[in-house]
């Protein structure tokens, strides 16, 4: 397209107008700015404008030693901080060819699945709130609080956990950990049907969600969406299945990857609800037989990676997180790149939203489960 036509395309007609959704807006859950071109209530174009919470994490990584990088990754997708930590730790271990003990693998996986559940609970809470049902907020946070308590007891932090380190985990699990996780699963199994009673079967909720923000399988692949968003469109993309890591590589864990074909907001919602059930299944298969072993393999005081490129993928609550480390053999990396799930998922928003109503955009953003620091880094 030539320049003239480009100008013409970007000019809006006189019956359209622009509004800024964000950087301060309740539905963006952070400092995301969406430039909306609207005709009455109907959305003509969505242009996400990033950079309001850019902290230069990838650049900072180039000046930090490898154990320090893990601290920064907590602040990317703060709702699945353990998965981020694990991704970096796995990449470093892969480079150093350290084989961590089975105990570490089990604990990492259990904590990772707990993180996923906590993230999905927070997502469920705020999805209800975005659609105007404020009660779900308190139900979701009630149960998430219990997971945070378990984390606090074991690693001293509730949100930015810093639990994985290169070669293992920072502390052994607390003596109450196993019992509390079991109690929590019993609790959540009784409470998840309550979630369904409040939102899932509700007529208004289904009307708001079904057929909204449809993303076909082909589009899902071409936009590179991952995680629950991809699964709702029928793309099997679970890294835990495709390229197993930690305990998934060690043991044949029996869990389903929930797949839907509609690709609308409602199926994205259902995928996440199903994932909570599957996470509980995974934990139940692991929690009773955590093997004994070292919690941390010895590493050198100053970790230096061999020359080369290293890549590790993990499945966070939002989708596929890729960690790319380019090392030139020094104590800090030459280049670090994070392939964050939120960024790719957000890129599909314009495609989904065009032609729908303003209220639908909120439902779409809610079911994309955007965490803005993950998009911006």
């Amino acid at each position: 397209m030539d320049y003239e036509a480009q100008i013409k395309k970007n000019q809006f007609r006189t019956d359209e107008y622009k509004i800024n959704m964000g950087p301060q807006h309740p539905a963006t859950h952070g400092v995301l700015r969406l430039n909306l071109t609207i005709d009455g209530e109907i959305i003509k174009r969505v242009e996400p404008d990033l950079g309001y919470i850019h902290r230069g994490i990838e650049k900072m990584c180039e000046y930090d030693s490898y154990p320090q990088i893990i601290h920064l990754t907590d602040r990317m997708d703060y709702l699945s901080s353990h998965n981020n930590n694990e991704a970096v730790a796995l990449a470093i271990e892969k480079a150093l060819e350290i084989e961590v003990s089975d105990r570490v693998k089990y604990i990492r996986t259990i904590v990772g699945e707990l993180t996923r559940m906590a993230s999905h609970q927070l997502w469920w809470a705020v999805t209800g709130m975005d659609l105007g049902a404020l009660t779900s907020y308190f139900y979701g946070f009630r149960d998430r609080e219990l997971i945070n308590d378990i984390f606090e007891e074991t690693c001293g932090a509730r949100l930015t956990m810093n639990y994985s380190v290169p070669g293992g985990i920072r502390y052994d699990i607390h003596e109450n950990f196993v019992q509390r996780v079991k109690d929590f699963i019993v609790h959540l199994r009784s409470k998840l049907p309550e979630y369904d009673q409040l939102l899932t079967g509700n007529v208004i909720f289904e009307k708001r969600m079904k057929g909204v923000g449809v993303l076909s399988k082909e589009d899902a692949i071409s936009y590179g969406v991952s995680g629950p968003v991809a699964r709702a469109s029928g793309v099997a993309s679970d890294i835990r299945k495709i390229k197993p890591y930690s305990a998934f590589a060690l043991k044949d864990i029996d869990f389903k990857e929930p797949l839907y074909t509609e690709g609308d907001a409602y199926s994205r919602y259902k995928v996440r609800i199903d994932e909570m059930w599957e996470s509980m299944n995974i934990i139940e298969q692991l929690i009773d037989n955590i093997p004994e072993g070292n919690i941390k393999e010895p590493t050198k005081a100053v970790i230096k990676l061999p020359k080369g490129e290293f890549y590790q993928r993990v499945e966070t609550a939002r989708g596929e997180l890729g960690v790319y480390i380019n090392s030139d053999g020094k104590k800090n990396p030459y280049r670090v790149k994070f392939r964050s799930p939120g960024f790719s998922n957000l890129s599909a928003l314009d495609h989904m939203a065009v032609g729908s109503k303003l209220g639908d955009l909120v439902a779409m953003m809610a079911t994309l489960d955007l965490v803005v620091p993950d998009i911006d880094r």
Partner: protein
């Protein structure tokens, strides 16, 4: 003279000032002013305590305790909030249309306060018993939307404008359903006058019982459209906070915001009070308890209104919000045809004498 009944409580106030003190016409004016002040105080307090009640009901549904710091059980919380709002600086936008912007908050509150004047709180507690009571109520209570439209338009804010336009569309549509469902009941009573509607129910039982099936349908339609009239969830698209920030009152602060806010709660009282008068026997005691003694009549009335309000609060804290096209589809494709059929059904029923007599 507006006040008809002889042993009316409000008539006695006026006659106390005009005849009792011997102040003549001046005393009459003073009496009316006294009544107005009583009503204003009552509804200011009622509005404030409805806010508190909503917060307590919300807390109850949401596994919380709710306000419990200011006064015993948080009873003074909303009083404190009101004092804060009154003493707050009034800020506004430079580019707003000053005159309309300042005028807008008065429409909802004035409309709400005018419409409360016709309610019968008891046999002897009614200021203004006009023969077109129901018609007057629906007419006056819809003036409030002008304030919302003006506020959204004059704020010079796109979010406020979207909220105001949604409000205009929604309130005008649902006005129809409110009117028609009340009309269904008027077929049964044969009168628009509130005191006569209650008189019909004194001998024949509450109208929701007399009119059975069509009355229950009318009540459901009335509650749905009444909730939409007050702009409350699940019809709160007007101030949909996750979509529009605060909607039409985004640019309002302090007391101007409080007028909008208070009007919403008084409107809720009005909708519930109409429902009680038309469907649940107004101030009549259930099963003629205590022989409908006069000083308990306002208590019964307020109790019934309270129960309807709690029902509306349950809606708000349980349901998600509808989308604007769904709101209009619900009204024009479902409620309106159902309502029209219901009127015909009620007319046939009244003509054929299928109403239920009381007692059985």
């Amino acid at each position: 003279m507006i006040i008809a009944s002889t042993n009316n409580f409000f008539t006695e106030i006026i006659s106390f000032f005009s005849d009792g003190l011997g102040w003549g016409f001046g005393g009459e004016i003073l009496g009316y002013t006294a009544i107005a002040v009583i009503y204003l105080i009552f509804f200011a307090v009622a509005g404030l305590y409805l806010v508190l009640m909503e917060r307590k009901v919300a807390a109850w549904i949401q596994l919380r305790i709710g306000p419990n710091r200011v006064g015993p059980w948080g009873l003074l919380q909303t009083i404190g909030d009101a004092i804060k709002l009154v003493t707050k600086e009034l800020t506004g936008t430079i580019k707003a249309d000053k005159f309309l912007y300042n005028l807008a908050p008065y429409f909802p509150i004035v409309a709400a306060l005018i419409s409360i004047s016709v309610f019968a709180f008891g046999e002897s507690f009614q200021v203004f018993d006009i023969n077109i009571g129901i018609f007057f109520l629906t007419a006056v209570s819809s003036i409030g939307v002008i304030g919302i439209l003006l506020g959204g338009w004059a704020s010079n804010n796109k979010f406020a404008l979207i909220g105001a336009m949604r409000s205009g569309v929604q309130v005008i549509s649902y006005e129809l359903s409110v009117g028609l469902s009340l009309l269904t009941m008027v077929l049964l009573t044969g009168s628009l006058q509130l005191s006569e509607i209650i008189e019909v129910q004194r001998t024949g039982g509450w109208l929701i019982y007399q009119g059975h099936i069509p009355a229950i349908i009318a009540f459901m339609i009335y509650m749905i459209s009444g909730t939409a009239e007050t702009n409350r969830a699940p019809f709160d698209l007007i101030e949909a906070e996750s979509e529009l920030g605060a909607g039409y009152h985004t640019e309002y602060s302090g007391m101007k915001f409080a007028y909008f806010f208070l009007a919403e709660f008084i409107n809720m009282f009005i909708i519930a009070a109409i429902a009680v008068t038309v469907f649940f026997g107004g101030w009549l005691a259930p099963f003629d308890l205590f022989d409908n003694v006069w000083f308990l009549q306002p208590v019964w009335f307020i109790l019934k209104v309270g129960m309807i309000i709690v029902l509306m609060m349950f809606f708000r804290w349980t349901y998600p919000r509808l989308r604007i096209d769904q709101v209009l589809t619900l009204e024009w494709k479902y409620l309106l045809p159902l309502n029209l059929m219901n009127i015909v059904l009620m007319a046939i029923m009244v003509w054929a004498g299928f109403t239920l007599p009381w007692p059985f």
